[in-house]
Symmetry: C2
Amino acid sequence: MENTRKESIKRLGDLIKEVKVAMLTTIDWGVLRSRPMQTQDVDFDGALWFFTSSETHKTEEIEKDRRVNVSYSAPDSNTYVSVTGTAEIVSDRAKIEELWNPVYKAWFPKGLDDPNLVLLKVTVEQAEYWDSPSSTIVQITGLVKALVTGESADNIGEHGKVQL
Amino acid sequence: MENTRKESIKRLGDLIKEVKVAMLTTIDWGVLRSRPMQTQDVDFDGALWFFTSSETHKTEEIEKDRRVNVSYSAPDSNTYVSVTGTAEIVSDRAKIEELWNPVYKAWFPKGLDDPNLVLLKVTVEQAEYWDSPSSTIVQITGLVKALVTGESADNIGEHGKVQL
């Protein structure tokens, strides 16, 4: 079981590390909204981390309703990942400093001196992915077919579900 | 007002027509799940259409809760779109035949003879987009910054919100 969890985490980490921008969907006053989020360049261990500002609308949304989806789309490799999880705002300075990288100054010019700089942590509960070794139309076909039929998709790309 | 709506529809249509696969997020027993959906090659008029099977899990989800988000990610052009809408299953044969294209046989081998072939219609209520003329890191930066700050992002790419 522990091994399976480790393998799931590794598989998911491998799938998402190539996708630089994810779409984060939240529930906002009863409707679903999504927005692009820059993926952090850290080893995936079961939680996703994003830098954000405590003054954004999405932090309010998350305080009202913690349920989120993070989706990763890599059209070039036909990889699509759905992550279901629970979000929270983390303002722990030690964690912020641990994950901080000067490259994020582009988004947060004040860097670690920005009092509004916080982390958005998504604890992953479940993930599904549609993966394909090549980008032919047949492969895309297979991916969608796997989705539609729920079949195991060994010969038409891969659709997997991992529970963390 | 009518002109603004027309312009919004045209703008949104232009943004999403290049993205072949969207991520559809639904509420499934209280949690958010997403999956890739093949975008239909039709002029956008305020509703998004997808072919699906009436036997899939997502059609059940939509029957329970019609609120959805459709997100479009085009990393190559730094375009990200969030569409908030209401989904319904349309089994009207005339509409299915109107939107049918033999290329979809790859997904639905029985084609129009498939009794489970239905349409998933998303009536768009609101959309937001993050668009950028080039794909440099500075542009990505700008997009995320526009999101974070809520500023108009004239010089750092574009973040727009359209109400349909």
